[in-house]
Each structure stands twice: as C-alpha cells, then as structure tokens.
C-alpha cells in the first residue's frame, strides 16, 4: 500500500498550458511554476481522484512527488 497524497488545501491549480508544458500559479507561495505536462496531469489527477495510492507508490514518481511537496503543492494524507 503506497502513501496517500493530496493537494494542499487552498491550491486552485490555476494554470495555462502549452503543447507540452504548463505554468501554474501557486496560491500559497505566490510563485509561478513551469511544469511538465506530466506533472500538471498528476496534480489534476490528485485533485480529481483519478490516481490511486498504489500508482503513486511507483518509484519513478518519487522525485516528482518530492518536488511538488517541496513547493507546497501536495502533501501526504
């Protein structure tokens, strides 16, 4: 069973997308992040409940999840 992750409350995920990348406004820090499409898709999936804890436990996601956590975009639940 993998660790559960969720969006940090208050993050509205206001973003704009290009063909591959997105810019995302961080409601908590006021920063703007340039994210890959995959990272943005992960955030949206977390918001919408479209990704399971087991999927999130994949080793290849560890660095990305840590990065997003470091930006106060997601948190363990």
């Amino acid at each position: 069973m993998g660790l559960c992750w969720r969006l940090v409350p208050g993050q509205a995920l206001r973003h704009r997308g290009w063909d591959t990348d997105c810019v995302l406004y961080n409601d908590l820090s006021g920063d703007t992040h340039l994210l890959s499409g995959e990272a943005m898709a992960l955030l949206l999936a977390l918001r919408d409940g479209d990704v399971t804890a087991d999927e999130l436990a994949a080793p290849e996601l560890a660095d990305l999840l840590a990065s997003l956590r470091g930006l106060d975009l997601i948190e363990p639940c």
């Binding site: 206001r14 340039l34 995959e38 660095d63």
Partner: protein, 190 residues
C-alpha cells in the same frame, strides 16, 4: 504560443479550476515520461512587488518567464505623475520638445510635435490612451536607471510603429493597439 487552459477558478468545484477539453494538462495522468520531467522552473513572487511588468514587450507575452543573464533587472519605474513633480535625471530637459526623443511625422507634428517633454506628462486631448505621457515617463525611467529591462531605442520603436501604423507588434503575429501599449507601459511603473 500559450493556450489558455482556464481563465479563472470560476466553474466546477469552488476554488478549483476546470479545464476545457484538449491540451497537455488534460491528458490522463500516466507514469510514462514522469521520471525525466517535472518542475522545470519557478518564478518566485517578490514580496511587496508593485511593478507588474518587468520585461520587454515581447517578454511580457511569455508571462514574464524570461531568463536574465548577469545582474537582475531593476523594476522600479515611476509614473507620469511622479515625473511631473520630481527632478529629472541628468541630461533630461522638461523644456525640450517631445519630438526630440520621439520623432513626429506630419500627422503628429502639430500635436505631439509641438509639445514639450514636461508638457506631455499632463493629460493632453490629442494623446489618445496617454501613449505619449507614458512613453515619456518610461524614457525618464530608463534614463534614471529605474527600468533596466527597457532602453530608449525600444521605446522609440514602439512610438514609431504606433505613429505610422496605429499599432505596435511586440512579436510576429501580435498587434497591440494604443490601449494595450499603455497597459504594458503602465505595468512597468509603480
């Protein structure tokens, strides 16, 4: 060219953003490709930031995500009103004609062309949208070292193109009318 995925958090869940179909962010999340990508860049907010735009006209189209080499830009432009009541940078002269900096053609010779640099800072009937007023303030900001991301030739290009065509193209395929030009110029000021 950016495509707006969602304008504001207005639809769908309160406080969240719904996206129209299509676009990179809308695709189903998969683990494929994640390992090689993620957070590519962060543009930190500046506490107490008052100047909204700190980049060139073309740079402003990229959402301010512009890389700077060397010292960071100075983004402390002052408004036309400020320059009406404060001393001007060395070498600038309120009594000289606006046209000495921003060349005027036959159409603008009797209006902008006959106005002084100090006079253009006051709202003028002929100064539609306040372009002359704000260009003059930007010029003073450049001379005072308050807007290091702009330079005089850049401001002159804006004026010359607007004067001759009625718009300014900050990049290919984009046309700024007078209101949009002033919006950009005003964004570079407190």
């Amino acid at each position: 060219m950016a495509t707006e995925q969602q304008p504001d958090a207005t639809a769908g869940q309160p406080g969240t953003a719904d996206l129209p179909p299509g676009g990179a962010a809308r695709r189903r999340f998969t683990r494929a490709g994640v390992a090689a990508s993620g957070v590519l860049l962060t543009l930190h907010s500046q506490p107490g930031m008052a100047v909204e735009v700190c980049t060139t006209p073309s740079g402003s189209l990229s959402g301010g995500l512009q890389s700077f080499r060397g010292p960071p830009p100075v983004c402390a432009g002052r408004s036309p009103g400020y320059w009406k009541t404060h001393s001007w940078p060395s070498g600038c002269n309120k009594a000289q004609l606006y046209a000495k900096i921003f060349a005027c053609n036959a159409v603008t010779a009797r209006t902008y062309g006959s106005c002084t640099q100090g006079g253009i800072l006051d709202p003028q009937k002929f100064d539609t949208n306040g372009i002359g007023r704000h260009l003059m303030a930007c010029y003073l900001n450049v001379k005072a070292g308050l807007s290091t991301f702009q330079d005089v030739p850049m401001l002159q290009r804006i004026w010359n193109e607007y004067q001759s065509k009625g718009f300014y193209a900050p990049t290919a395929g984009v046309k700024w009318d007078g209101a949009k030009i002033v919006e950009y110029l005003r964004g570079t000021m407190y």
